[in-house]
């Protein structure tokens, strides 16, 4: 059987291997992605993002359970940070998802950020496309943190769930400072802890302030309190996620199309940026130069950064 057919028919080993090839940036993975693309566009992609340890994996595990009850198939991508010192990683999100290990309707893949040049969001998007083509009805993407890369991943989901816990002032600040817009649903997990109501109120205020910028027919961000470990509030979260999907897909509504176009644009821009940057770096190396060498000359005032960029871009892209 052809590799595309194997993926589309859901062959686990083939899917697992192509995901690895994408992660490792094997050139051969591109042709597979090209041929898979016509099979994509059916899955509902849901991003879960938030600071370390707030309970994202536990929530993903629980939500996956709800979708399985509806006989929907689920793909899970769980992203963990890479050690900046060794390039290695411990990918531990699966610990919270054990009950799905033997369910053929759930495919779980852990990946490390390997972070450079926004490569994370690109490979995550590509992996989402594979799981989409493989027929997963729902794809849950877990990312740690509230940095630019995570925002970009979140932006490439149809529905974005921002997870926080009581007493995380830094999270509220980050939300205030710019990631407010990307959250369709805000979860206050560990609601068993003190201060949950207060966090909910703070979020409500932020949503209120932001609402002035929204159009009348926009989605009003929702807040859900959960205790993921005990399974409390998950039914409400599931309903809210589904409500968001229904809102996007309502008949006559252009919302789904809007979101899909936004996702596609982000992905296209990201891919262009990556490729253009790679091409430029390769040209720099090809003429026996390097970024570090340029930096040295700039610091020594032999060169200024403006001319450096002008020269590189001129020579790199023409």
């Amino acid at each position: 059987m052809d590799i595309i057919q194997q993926i589309v028919s859901g062959d686990v080993r083939t899917i697992a291997r192509i995901l690895r090839d994408i992660d490792d940036e094997l050139p051969s993975s591109r042709s597979v992605l090209q041929r898979l693309y016509p099979h994509t566009g059916k899955a509902h992609v849901i991003g879960f993002t938030g600071s370390p340890g707030v309970g994202k994996s536990t929530l993903v595990d629980q939500i996956a359970g709800f979708y399985r009850k509806e006989s929907k198939t689920v793909g899970i991508l769980a992203v963990d940070p890479t050690s900046p010192f060794t390039g290695g990683a411990i990918l531990g999100d699966r610990i919270r998802m054990q009950r799905h290990f033997l369910d053929p309707g759930v495919f779980i893949r852990s990946l490390a950020t390997r972070g450079q040049f926004g490569g994370l969001s690109k490979s995550t998007n590509d992996m989402v496309n594979v799981l989409d083509a493989a027929g997963k009805d729902v794809i849950l993407v877990e990312t740690v943190g509230v940095g630019q890369d995570e925002v970009e991943i979140a932006n490439s989901a149809h529905t974005t769930v921002l997870v926080t816990i009581p007493g995380m002032g830094d999270d509220i600040q980050a939300i205030k400072a710019g990631i407010m817009e990307i959250g369709n649903i805000f979860v206050v997990n560990k609601a068993d802890r003190e201060g949950s109501r207060k966090t909910v109120r703070e979020l409500m205020n932020l949503i209120e302030i932001n609402s002035r910028r929204r159009n009348g027919d926009d989605w009003e961000p929702q807040i859900v309190e959960t205790e993921a470990m005990k399974g409390r509030g998950i039914d409400k979260l599931y309903e809210t996620i589904e409500k968001h999907r229904t809102f996007l897909q309502a008949t006559g509504s252009e919302k789904w199309r809007e979101v899909v176009e936004k996702r596609t644009k982000i992905q296209l821009m990201g891919a262009l940026r990556d490729e253009a940057f790679k091409a430029v770096l390769e040209r720099i190396e090809a003429r026996g130069d390097s970024i570090d060498e340029l930096v040295r000359r700039i610091v020594d005032r032999e060169l200024d950064p403006y001319t450096a960029v002008e020269q590189i871009v001129d020579k790199g892209l023409r």
Partner: protein
Amino acid sequence: MANARKLRILVAKPGLDGHDRGARVVARAFRDAGFEVVYTGCHQTPEQIVSTAIQEDVDLIGLSILSGAHRYSFPRVIELLKENNAEDISVIGGGIFPMEDIPRLKEAGIKEIFEPGAKLGEIIEWVGTNISPRMDADESGSARVSG
């Protein structure tokens, strides 16, 4: 400028005892050696371990055990890998074993056994020399034909 393949390792702990300190220490050592480690916690059945190894496309499974369940679980992992056309994934074990069991485990297909005295550096070195990331890009579904 393509990335080199990263070695991916599943560290799993079959059996009923809930002490995974040893497994965590090894997982951390693997990370510090630059490997990507999928860690799944305690109480894993051989079925769960093999399913995870396949979904995560690891090159190596490291089984850690204290409770004596190795006589069943180790060979069972090998058997399940074969059933799933995944015998190209290597398996090693660490923990406490009666001496006389070791040859039998190796015969069953466990590549190497590390006893509690084994130094972390020793394990890392063994992995570095004996296990390399899968290289074939397009070949899929079926097991590799080693030549």
